[in-house]
């Protein structure tokens, strides 16, 4: 398989130690767990999505492992502004703070707390199971643009994370780009549910949730591919990446870097495992393959 040169990676204004980023909401509630992922080989990390007020999240079950995937509806639990405390030991590290809100000014408020602390922001306009947040506003191009503008105004790197649960992801990507996004992250989880037939009720406390993990990889890949055609800012591929080959495939579809979340379930040191295979001294520069499947 083709391998990559190990190099510093600059994506949408953030400098990462390699192309592998921990995805938002996975082991991202505490500074210590974020740090652990960096130690284990992640080139950067995205925090749990932080909102304007502390939230406990949905009642359980919040997460169910499936074959080759995870189904979750955490409900955006987060300590809000108190999260600042978690980031103290991470000063200077490639930590991107994920933000959610219900309206553009909520995004601005949360972003203001992390000005100068975060290496950049990631706007969660895509969580499929939090009423009034995430995908609820992330499927409306005008809202996406407005929220992005509020945060981009800080002049810090502003990634926008998109939902696949829309008719045309390209339209949403363009709205973010017009709002000043420096990179797009695709995708958040895919709307889904399961029912526990012996109890005759949905298995998640929130009834429905989002699917992640290997089973959504071909869906995420398609979104990245579509965005690469529709937009001109860098794309960070996310969704089901669990091997070095997946990273290469995402890059060929158009991703400049990738995020990895659910794969920690099968391998808690997945970042190191992937990096070991992905990088070699005679690897190519990623720029040589990003988007090459479009030729």
């Amino acid at each position: 398989m083709i391998t990559l040169q190990k190099e510093l990676v600059h994506v949408g204004g953030v400098t990462l130690d390699n192309h592998l980023i921990l995805a938002a909401g996975v082991l991202g509630t505490t500074g210590a767990s974020l740090f652990r992922m960096l130690r284990q080989g992640a080139g950067g990390v995205v925090t749990k999505s932080i909102g304007p007020n502390p939230k406990e999240g949905h009642a359980g079950p919040c997460l169910v492992p499936l074959e080759r995937g995870l189904l979750n509806a955490m409900g955006l639990p987060n300590p809000s502004k108190n999260f600042l405390q978690e980031l103290e030991p991470l000063a200077g590290k490639p930590v991107v703070v994920s933000i959610f809100g219900g309206k553009p000014d909520e995004f601005r408020t949360v972003a203001s707390w992390f000005e100068g602390v975060a290496a950049g922001y990631e706007l969660n306009l895509s969580c499929p199971h939090a009423e009034g947040y995430g995908a609820a506003i992330g499927s409306d191009p005008a809202m996406v643009r407005a929220c992005t503008e509020e945060v981009a105004a800080f002049g810090m790197p502003t990634w926008v994370k998109l939902t696949p649960n829309v008719t045309d992801i390209g339209t949403i990507g363009r709205a973010a780009e017009e709002g000043g996004a420096t990179a797009l992250v695709a995708i958040n989880t895919v709307r889904a549910m399961r029912i526990a037939i012996d109890l005759r009720r949905p298995v998640l406390g929130n009834r429905f949730g989002g699917l992640s993990g290997a089973m959504i990889f071909p869906i995420a890949l398609r979104c990245v591919y579509d965005l690469y055609e529709a937009c001109s800012i860098p794309i960070i591929g996310c969704g089901g990446v669990s091997s070095a080959a997946d990273v290469i495939e995402m890059m060929m579809a158009g991703a400049s870097a990738v995020q990895i979340g659910s794969a920690v379930y099968d391998d808690s040191s997945v970042f190191g495992s992937i990096a070991d295979v992905l990088y070699s001294t005679d690897g190519v520069s990623a720029s040589g393959i990003v988007g090459c499947a479009h030729e």
Binding site: R36, M37, L63, L66, E67, R68, P79, N82, A196, S262
Partner: protein, 255 residues
């Protein structure tokens, strides 16, 4: 990732342990290691972590909504079980077990399979001692009650200080309130044998499988659900253990 949908089980027996603790037996035995736990889904309410007190039992203390609902279940009720989860105890040589309150739950199967030599069981008062009769048969049982209604008058640490030669045990398995466990860890540490201690920890859990991060501990980011719930004393001695934990939203609170 393999299919980890909750297994729906039916409650076949409900045993009163204390006024606030009941043991539920279900119609299905899981293959467990003592110390492993499960996520117990109380339909319509929540899903909460519970140690297995035997391959087909959990022992539940009422503290809030989910536990209240659990101890109110009657025979025939259905709940969902995800598990067994976590690592469990790894006893070696001579084993001392120390339980406070409902912390006896994950230690009980260890005693049942014959691994425990000495068992220190603590509770507030005699009526709240759990599994005492059975532990008496299985181990060299020593009891402590806060009010002195049975056994040693005081905490389990009192028994430890007065009746136990700590160094004569190769493994010390502990589960109970965090301050009690901290007290024991301090003693092990003072004796230079923190690594012989195996502590079953409690942190707020949502996923139970090492993904969400809600149970991660400072400073190493170890997940209680996956790297634990059992940790050796040296793993946690320089950690948040004994000082703070996080709630459902991830905010720190003192323990």
């Amino acid at each position: 990732m393999s299919d980890g949908m909750p297994v729906v089980v039916t409650v076949v027996e409900v045993m009163d342990e204390t006024p606030t603790v009941k043991t539920l037996r279900f119609d299905r035995k899981f293959t467990i290691l003592p110390g492993q736990f499960c996520m117990v889904w109380v339909p319509g309410i929540d899903e909460v972590p519970m140690g297995f007190s035997s391959p087909d039992m959990i022992t539940v203390q009422r503290v809030g909504e989910a536990t209240q609902a659990l101890i109110s279940l009657s025979i025939g009720s259905k709940i969902g079980i995800r598990g067994p989860l976590g690592n469990g105890f790894s006893p070696q040589g001579r084993v001392l077990a120390i339980a406070g309150g409902v912390g006896v739950a994950p230690l009980y199967p260890l005693a049942v399979n014959g691994s425990v030599d000495t068992f220190i069981l603590g509770a507030r008062t005699e009526a709240e001692l759990i599994f005492a009769d059975s532990l008496m048969d299985l181990t060299d049982l020593k009891i402590a009650t806060d009010d002195g209604t049975a056994g040693h008058h005081g905490f389990v640490t009192g028994v430890l200080d007065e009746q136990i030669d700590l160094l004569s045990y190769d493994t010390i398995c502990v589960c109970g309130p965090e301050m009690m466990m901290k007290g024991i860890l301090n003693r092990l540490s003072d004796a230079g044998i923190a690594d012989r201690g195996q502590f079953s920890l409690h942190r707020y859990m949502k996923c139970g499988v090492g993904v969400c991060g809600s149970c991660a501990m400072d400073p190493d980011g170890l997940c209680v659900c996956r790297d634990g719930p059992v940790f050796t004393g040296d793993q946690i001695i320089n950690s948040e253990f004994g000082s703070y934990a996080r709630d459902a939203s991830g905010q720190r609170k003192r323990v």
